[in-house]
């Protein structure tokens, strides 16, 4: 399913003043494409997910999904949130069944479908467990299974692996790629981790800080599976990092002190740094 954003802006009222979170964002995501949106914390990345999901209306501009304007949430676009957002009163199975139950699917067939997706994320043994009994990585697996069980055309992911340790994160990245190739869905993935974006995406959009605008885009035509040490990947990462540093400096200036001066950059910046989260 193709997603088209035309001149999308979002303004929030905050403490009596209005803040422009997103300004004139236009982009097109092709059917089946894996797109990452990369930018420093507080640049409106999550807001863009909420707009596409239909959880919030844009202040200006249009969002089209397969030529139909988005007017509210729809089960063709399901969101995986950073904090998993599982329902604590339901088991893993109950959580994965939830959307199917809302859709009025019969208990037998929704349970069968839920099991299928629970197995797909390797949690078969934990179908009867409650979310509080699971680790952070397992919770995200459930969140992914819960979203995919809806058979969405688009998966919207808002820093889904942001709170996980490096090993779990890498594992889930690989599994997500496997699921994406198998299910042929469109994925819009928000992150502030440069390596994550370049390992995953067909195309990386860089978004600037306040107001959030698409600054550059980086097509990544490297075939998968990609090695993290692939020199082509490292080159792209360094280009993105160079460009992002300006944005981070902007955020720091705004938040800390207008006289902040960016320290000269060393030759290599680790790409696995969580940009912006250290500010």
């Amino acid at each position: 399913m193709a997603i088209v954003l035309e001149g999308v802006s979002k303004r929030f009222a905050q403490n009596g003043q209005s803040v422009d979170v997103l300004q004139d964002v236009s982009l097109t995501i092709a059917d089946g494409e894996f797109v990452c949106l990369l930018g420093p914390s507080g640049c409106g990345k999550s807001t863009l997910v909420y707009l596409i999901a239909g959880l919030e209306p844009p202040t200006a501009g249009r969002i089209l999904v397969d030529d139909h304007p988005v007017t509210g949430p729809g089960t063709d676009r399901v969101v995986v949130f950073q904090e998993a957002a599982l329902f604590p009163w339901l088991t893993v199975l109950g959580n994965v069944e939830f959307g199917l139950k809302m859709a009025g699917i019969s208990p037998a067939s929704r349970q069968a479908r839920a099991y299928e997706f629970i197995k797909l994320v390797h949690l078969g043994r934990f179908a009867q467990a409650y979310p509080h009994q699971l680790s952070g990585g397992m919770k995200q697996r459930v969140a992914i299974a819960r979203a995919l069980a809806m058979h969405p055309k688009i998966l919207l992911m808002d820093e889904p692996f942001g709170a996980l340790d490096a090993q779990t994160r890498q594992l889930l990245q690989q599994e997500l790629l496997g699921l994406w190739e198998r299910l042929k869905i469109t994925i819009f993935f928000v992150t502030h981790n440069v390596r994550e974006a370049t390992v995953l995406a067909d195309k990386v959009y860089e978004i600037s800080a306040r107001p959030g605008q698409i600054k550059r885009q980086y097509p990544i035509a490297i075939p998968r599976p990609r090695s993290e040490h692939d020199p082509r990947l490292l080159t792209i990462q360094q280009r993105i990092l160079g460009s992002l540093e300006e944005e981070i400096a902007k955020v720091v200036k705004e938040q800390v002190d207008a006289e902040y001066i960016l320290a000269p950059r060393g030759p290599v910046v680790p790409a696995d740094r969580n940009l912006g989260s250290h500010i």
Binding site: P73, F87, P88, W89, M150
Partner: protein, 225 residues
């Protein structure tokens, strides 16, 4: 020690005696029956009203303050009102329990409904939970810890209201009637033994039912401290 307050050993003996005394057990059963009827009414009215107030803003504007006022009233203060309305009857006692304990259930239930984490609502909405479905499948379960908090407090409030009611409506056979007789005849050791039993029943129900329920819910909902 205070004059006339019995030794622990005497009290223990009297407690045991009472708990095997059929007359007393009949009175205890009467009290528990009234409590059960009153509490069941509290649960039904309290949760029903709380869900309504939480769901409909207009209802909350209209009746929210009433729930706060009713809740601010000590249960015992309803007894004269109940007697004036219904006379020295069992119904007056049950009425006291209901008015003494419903407010806290209403307040907690509606607060729980209003305080559902936005993230859960959003997750539900992206999966098609809206309107009535959202209410029953997301909002009410998410509010459950607060609802149970209210039910637990209501048990304690109701237990107090029951005793206040029974003390003043002394014609009805129950624990209150027993206690007042002991007080009038100044039988301090028996009186203390009875008070102990009343406290024990309160602690027992709270510990066996509500603490367990609350604990299991807090663990599951991830709000255990």
């Amino acid at each position: 020690m205070w004059p006339g307050v019995p030794a622990a050993s005497t009290t223990a003996r009297l407690v045991a005696e009472r708990l095997t005394d059929p007359t007393f057990l009949t009175a205890l059963a009467g009290s528990l029956r009234r409590m059960a009827i009153g509490y069941a009414t509290v649960v039904v009215i309290g949760i029903g009203a709380g869900l309504t107030l939480g769901r409909f803003r207009a209802m909350d504007d209209l009746l929210g303050t009433l729930a706060v006022v009713i809740n601010a009233m000590p249960g015992a203060a309803w007894v004269p009102f109940a007697i004036a309305l219904f006379g020295l009857t069992e119904f007056a006692i049950i009425f006291t329990i209901v008015l003494g304990a419903t407010g806290i259930v209403v307040i907690n239930t509606s607060a729980g409904i209003k305080d559902v984490p936005p993230l859960l609502l959003q997750a539900g909405r992206t999966m098609g939970a809206r309107g009535t479905k959202q209410f029953w499948h997301v909002i009410v379960p998410a509010a459950m810890p607060r609802i149970v908090d209210g039910l637990r407090l209501a048990w304690a409030f109701g237990w107090r209201a029951l005793m206040a009611g029974e003390l003043l409506v002394a014609s009805v056979r129950g624990m209150g009637q027993f206690i007042s007789q002991m007080a009038k005849t100044r039988q301090m050791p028996e009186l203390v033994a009875l008070m102990l039993i009343i406290a024990m029943v309160g602690v027992l129900v709270d510990g066996l039912v509500f603490r367990r329920l609350e604990r299991s819910i807090r663990v599951r909902w991830g709000t255990a401290s």
